[in-house]
Amino acid sequence: MLEACVFATILCGFLGIILKQNLVMKIISMDIMSTGVIAYYILIASRSGLFTPIVGNKENVGYADPVPQAVILTAIVIGFSIQALMLVGVMKLAKNNPTLEASAIEQNNTP
């Protein structure tokens, strides 16, 4: 059930990227898609147990797998960096062609 919700989030983001014409909406859809992917990693990590992988006083509890959690940190950081860069790119595009619609920008720039 949870897995289906996560996949639905990813699918929503994907459809948003290809169906929306507005560039800012595309960026938001990409963010939604990456959120879904991150949630999927967290879901996979919780298969072996639900405790945070921090060793404490309790013995023999089912810890969550720390490896996917550590791996997905890269995606979070790089997603943030890419979003900042994409927003700047959209700002420049919107300044050159006074619109945010992808098709109008393409039409303006076709020779």
């Binding site: 298969r47 945070t52 960096s81």
Partner: protein, 220 residues
């Protein structure tokens, strides 16, 4: 053409739901315990990030720095906005300042105890960046920029990246500080130091991005 993509996306969605994922059958090995024993810190995620995946983390930091540089580079030839509309009513300012104080304290806590409790360098940096962002939406952008210039923040940011890379290279080449007792503040060898470095670096990087966006785009 679009509809092919839509149908393909829905097909992949249904496929992922129907076919179960193959799960690895190696649950006998206690991953958390072995990582904690290797790294000497009780937070296994921090242990992986700054020990098992240190080589990856170097480039993560580098990518972040390059993105900040790229934002500055792309915005360099734009016209700065003349009027930046700020929050000017007292309640907003006081709430934002209060929030900034709390977030800054949380950031320090996450940074210095990231190897013991949930947290770590990147989370601490994001908290610090949030604190600076909260200040930036209420105080004048000239003041923020003067502070940024006066303390040579961008130079410090680059110096921190170089120090981080050097420390990581030293660690990767095999030299290590003794690990110390598990679960105390000064344990885990180099990991707390790397945590704090990453925290400061991400804070300063997000400060640079916030300043650039406020200067060239305004707040609204």
């Amino acid at each position: 053409m679009k509809w092919i993509y839509v149908v393909a996306g829905i097909a992949v969605f249904i496929k992922m739901l129907i076919m179960p994922n193959p799960t690895a059958e190696w649950s006998e090995m206690a991953i958390v315990e072995s990582i904690v024993k290797d790294a000497g810190v009780s937070n296994a995620v921090s242990g992986i990030i700054f020990r098992n995946r240190l080589y990856d983390t170097i480039f993560e930091v580098v990518v972040f720095t390059i993105a900040v540089l790229g934002v500055g580079f792309l915005l360099a030839d734009e016209q700065p906005t003349n009027i930046v509309y700020q929050f000017s009513d007292r309640p907003s300012i006081i709430l934002a300042r209060l929030g900034a104080t709390i977030t800054a304290i949380i950031s320090i806590e996450l940074g210095i105890r990231g190897h013991l409790s949930p947290g770590g360098g990147f989370a601490a940096g994001v908290a610090g960046g949030t604190a600076i962002g909260l200040i930036a939406i209420t105080s004048s952008s000239e003041m923020m920029e003067n502070i940024y210039k006066r303390w040579h923040i961008s130079t410090w940011e680059k110096a921190l990246v170089i120090v981080f890379i050097l420390l990581a290279a030293i660690t990767l080449s095999g030299w290590a500080i003794p690990v110390g007792e598990l679960g105390t503040l000064f344990s885990g060898g180099i990991i707390p130091l790397l945590n704090i470095l990453v925290a400061i670096k991400v804070t300063l990087g997000s400060w640079a991005v916030i300043l650039l966006f406020v200067r060239y785009r305004g707040l609204l």
